[in-house]
Point group: C2
DNA sequence: CTCGACACTTACAAAATAGTCAGTACTGGA
DNA sequence: TCCAGTACTGACTATTTTGTAAGTGTCGAG
């Protein structure tokens, strides 16, 4: 670990939040702890497998915490750790940028899809 | 395109910077325009193909601008557009977070790789 | 006159990521 | 009893993304 692991801090962020649904999960959990099923309903387009896989990875990475009520039928909740909260905080400006430039980005994506169809 | 394209602004950012080397490219260009070869040397681990592919996508997306000096042998430079600069600005806090938590993240990644080896 | 530098391009292979679909063990309600 | 809901797991497939290795045309240095 003597060499610089990351050339730019961004890489570190991506190392943690690289995964199609992870930013969304962190975003939703920033508003308070949620049950697995709640998250599945919030992040509408995620499949159950991917949700749980990402949840597990985020837990392993110390971004979120899994709270198991050890009940049958199962009751599990997830919440941000301090580490996760610090990430969520720094994510906020990005979120704002995305919201602010929403239409612009949507157009870019649309143009991209159009170009792909033509080719 | 009537439905909300992005649930969370983060998705918009990812739509633009989703690509292993794109954040790095933007980061390096934030310090001024660069020639293709310079970028290749700065982003040491990127292959020529990926660099150029990402450069092209960022250009198509209006994040960077390609300046061709129409010389033989070729001389091409890339620089951020206003749009790209606005992105770079909002990226800064993320960069800082990553730099600040560098060691922490490095450890997490290391742990992940270790777990993968065991399994 | 060969060789490297320049900015690419192309074909193809490998790896990472995401997806579907079925199944587990248990409960409480109709 | 049957069925939905709970949180999850595993086999298998599909898609996307990245990487490797080669080739293009032109120039100037050696």
């Amino acid at each position: 670990m003597t060499e610089a692991t990351f050339q730019c801090g961004l890489e570190a962020v991506l190392a943690i939040l690289g995964g199609k649904w992870k930013p969304l999960i962190v975003y939703h959990l920033a508003g308070g702890s949620k049950r697995t099923g709640e998250l599945r309903r919030l992040v509408t387009k995620v499949s159950e497998k991917m949700l749980i896989q990402h949840l597990k990875e985020l837990t392993d990475d110390g971004v979120i915490r899994r709270i198991d009520y050890r009940k049958v039928p199962p009751h599990v909740e997830y919440e941000l750790t301090d580490f996760g909260r610090s990430l969520a905080q720094v994510l906020a400006p990005l979120c704002e940028w995305g919201t602010h430039h929403n239409a612009e980005v949507a157009m870019i994506v649309q143009k991209r899809e159009h170009a792909a169809r033509v080719a």
